[in-house]
Amino acid sequence: MSGPALRAVGLTKRYGRTTALDDLSLDVPVGEVFGFLGPNGAGKSTTIRLLLGFARPTAGRAEVFGVDASDVARAHRLLAHVPADVALWPKLTGAEVLHLLAATGAGTDTARRDELVERFGLDPSKPARTYSSGNRQKVALVAAFASRAPLLVLDEPTSGLDPLVEREFRRAVVEAREQGRTVFLCSHQLAEVEAVCDRVGILRAGRLVEVAGVPELRRLHRSEVTVTFTGEPPRLEAVPGVEGVESTGEGRLRFSLTGSPGPVLGQLAAAGVTALSVREPRLEEVFLDHYGEGAVR
């Protein structure tokens, strides 16, 4: 199959005067695990609703393996979905829901489904009414990972899961990638995105503000640099990309660096540096750079 697994071209959704998603253009190539980040209300769920054809775009279009997203009867043969807040028919047991979704979905590997039920620790004999939100989420996750769909669209899939199940989830994502499947993962769990995603897109107020590979993204953002030196303290304040210089003891400095390290190294050369350490930012710090401390609580 040529072309991307997911494509959005000028995708826009307005509700009255509110623009929930503004001109999103994005390609997710086949086989990639793509993380989609943004604070509450940034438009992540709107994007997913548009990708699934649940909502109609005000402008632009979305495609799943080249099929228009609004042609759900065809596009949905190629994807499986885990909603953010899973609701199930209360009288059906977990096993019955899985049976229904296998019969009406994009095709299911039943042996894999049984294995996933074990791994996620789901008791499928209970009526959905008695499930906690985490257990409802497990039902949807088992159905999605056991499906043969080449694309998985996951909206906050681990928000109600305990750490053990979350670990299984990460394994399942890695396995899906090994099978050549594409994963579109919306998440607030930045450590999880960092651990499993190849590329990340960051959404703010309906606009895509950054798309990059995870290592690249870290490089582009503030690294924390610590230097130990014997000579005169280097004068760093005026060096472009340097911020927050502070002394952490005799002959020690710490500062943050954005962009190329060349100019800083030039300044440091004169100071008789004896040790230098550079710590790349965690994704959380990248995220906070975009939104400020108020965005993540």
Partner: protein
């Protein structure tokens, strides 16, 4: 090797004193409760008052002709008519006539609303998880249930008072008006208490609603049997509707039956509140098994799943409709024999608006023409259930499968249409069983009769699909409009002598009395066509709008 040092003793915070409950917490819950019932409650009140006032206003025209009145009095004494309308009391007065003619429908309306509103706002809210937040505050489960019950009680009490006021304004004596209004209010309170009790015992809204409605239906049937079968009058004391009849407004104005009904309501409500204090939030007293084997029948396709979800509702509605038409069947023979014996009485009955009642065919045809009301509401409620699954996100997972929007809605509509035909057939079969003893009505005629009303029920289905596409929040209301609105319009038009075109707006005006008359093919075709048109426009809307999930 390291020595372990104990951490410096942290200051242990004092256990805070429990603050006094904020004043007005209960009242805030009460206001919330009232908000949840005020709209439906107001609509019920207005319909009840409009129906009563219209019937009262039509009495003068009826009384102006002594022959018509005499015919009515003769017909009303018949056991079969008593079965349907209750015991005739003081029919020669405007008040007595109004109570006889409108009392049962109004009682059913108010009772059904009270029961449905109570299970919706108690068990329904709890089931949806909304009470978890409420009950995490300083509000006990018992308080929450009690306040909801009070809100419903306030509405039905207001309805009773408004009815009494309307009857006084219509010029009927105050005593009778007060007894009738109090009786209707007491019946509403009783229904709410039964529903509240069911909501404590049973763990789901649908089960609690089913149990409450079944209890009220059994009460109505008991009243019918007690009024129709000689020697069984004593049974009236065992039915809330029977007690309402025993109060005999405008004749004896008896207060005791109303007080009994109130006492029963109070006792049931008290039991419900005690049970509310003894159970876990989110579950009923009757625990259900936590595990069961998977039953995968009818879970293999979208269509199968639609059938599976429809089975229980169809069974429930079939039970109610079947019981009613079985009763109609059994009384049909007795009634028509009585009318056929006496040509003079039969003529008088015709003048009193009971034409064509002197044969089993005519009688059943007349009663079959009521059938689209429940069947149409069934159709509307089923489509509304699909919209509910959409708005509470249950539909998100199935809709993420390769199932087009049109197939989703079309399957539901097709299964609902099959349900409509099933209910119509059940009514025909039950009537046939009922008349079998007297050998009155062939099954084929009964089927022709009930199926001839299908276009009105299909109009409801079409209107519901239209609303699902364009105004999903009003699906049940818009879908019920052709049946309930059309029926009320016809009654109002008949009673007020409105111009013919007003009556013609109602789909009921275009139903022939089948099997007495041949079915009106043209009218049936036009109505079916309109239904299809509504559905097509609705489907177009459903295709282009955003899903609610």
């Amino acid at each position: 090797m390291s020595t372990r040092t104990s951490p410096a003793p942290a200051r242990v915070p004092d256990v805070p004193a429990v603050p006094a409950a904020a004043p007005g917490t209960g009242r805030a819950v009460g206001r919330l409760a009232l908000r949840q019932v005020r709209r439906g409650g107001l609509a019920t009140l207005l319909v009840a008052v409009a129906l009563t006032a219209t019937v009262a206003a039509s009495f003068d025209a009826l009384a102006a002709d002594p022959a018509t009145l005499a015919g009515l009095l003769a017909v009303a004494q018949n056991p079969a008519v008593r079965t349907l309308f209750g015991e005739p009391v003081a029919l020669e007065t405007a008040g007595g006539f109004t109570v006889w003619r409108s009392g049962t429908p109004v009682a059913v309306l108010v009772g059904a609303w009270a029961a449905l509103a109570t299970t919706r706002t108690t068990r329904g809210e709890e089931e949806a998880g909304r009470w978890n937040l409420l009950l995490a505050g300083p509000v006990r489960l018992r308080t929450a249930v009690g306040r909801q019950l009070l809100a419903v009680a306030a509405v039905v009490t207001a309805t009773g008072a408004a009815l009494a006021a309307a009857l006084v304004l219509a010029g009927t004596p105050t005593g009778g008006a007060a007894v009738h209004g109090a009786g209707i209010a007491a019946l509403g309170l009783f229904s709410a208490a039964v529903a509240a009790l069911a909501a404590q015992v049973l763990g789901t809204r649908s089960a609690a609603t089913g149990a409450a409605v079944a209890a009220l239906g059994a009460g109505l049937l008991t009243r019918s049997v007690a009024d129709g079968v000689p020697g069984w009058q004593g049974l009236r004391w065992a039915s809330p509707f029977g007690l309402l009849g025993l109060s005999r407004p405008y004749a004896q104005d008896r207060v005791l039956p109303v007080l009994l009904l109130l006492a029963a309501a109070a006792a049931l409500a008290a039991v419900a509140l005690v049970l509310a204090g003894r159970r876990d939030v989110g579950s009923g007293l009757l625990a259900r098994p936590a595990h069961r084997r998977a039953r995968t029948a009818l879970l293999g396709s979208v269509g199968g799943f639609a059938v599976r979800r429809a089975l229980r509702p169809v069974a429930g509605w079939s039970t109610g409709i079947g019981a009613y038409y079985l009763l109609i069947g059994t009384t049909a023979v007795a009634l028509t024999e009585f009318l056929a014996q006496d040509a003079a009485v039969s003529d008088l009955a015709g003048q009193a608006g009971f034409a064509a009642l002197d044969s089993v065919r005519g009688f059943t045809a007349t009663v079959f023409s009521l059938l689209p009301v429940p069947v149409g509401v069934f159709a509307a409620v089923r489509i509304a259930a699909l919209v509910a699954a959409e708005s509470d996100r249950r539909l998100a997972l199935p809709a993420a499968g390769p199932v087009g929007r049109l197939r989703l809605l079309g399957t539901e509509a097709a299964v609902t249409a099959a349900g409509v035909l099933t209910l119509l057939s059940v009514a025909a079969f039950a009537t046939w069983c009922g008349t079998a003893a007297g050998g009155g009505l062939p099954l084929a005629d009964a089927l022709r009769g009930t199926w001839s009303t299908a276009p009105v029920a299909l109009l409801c289905l079409g209107a519901a699909v239209l609303a699902a596409g364009w105004l999903p929040s009003a699906t049940a209301l818009v879908g019920s409009l052709p049946a309930v609105g059309g029926f009320l319009l016809q009654i109002l038009a008949d009673s007020t002598g409105a111009p013919a075109w007003v009556r013609e707006v109602s789909p009921f005006a275009h139903l022939a009395l089948v099997p007495l008359e041949p079915a009106g093919t043209a009218a049936a075709l036009v109505m079916t066509l309109v239904a299809v048109l509504l559905a097509v426009v609705g489907a177009a809307g459903y295709r282009r709008r955003d899903l609610l999930c």
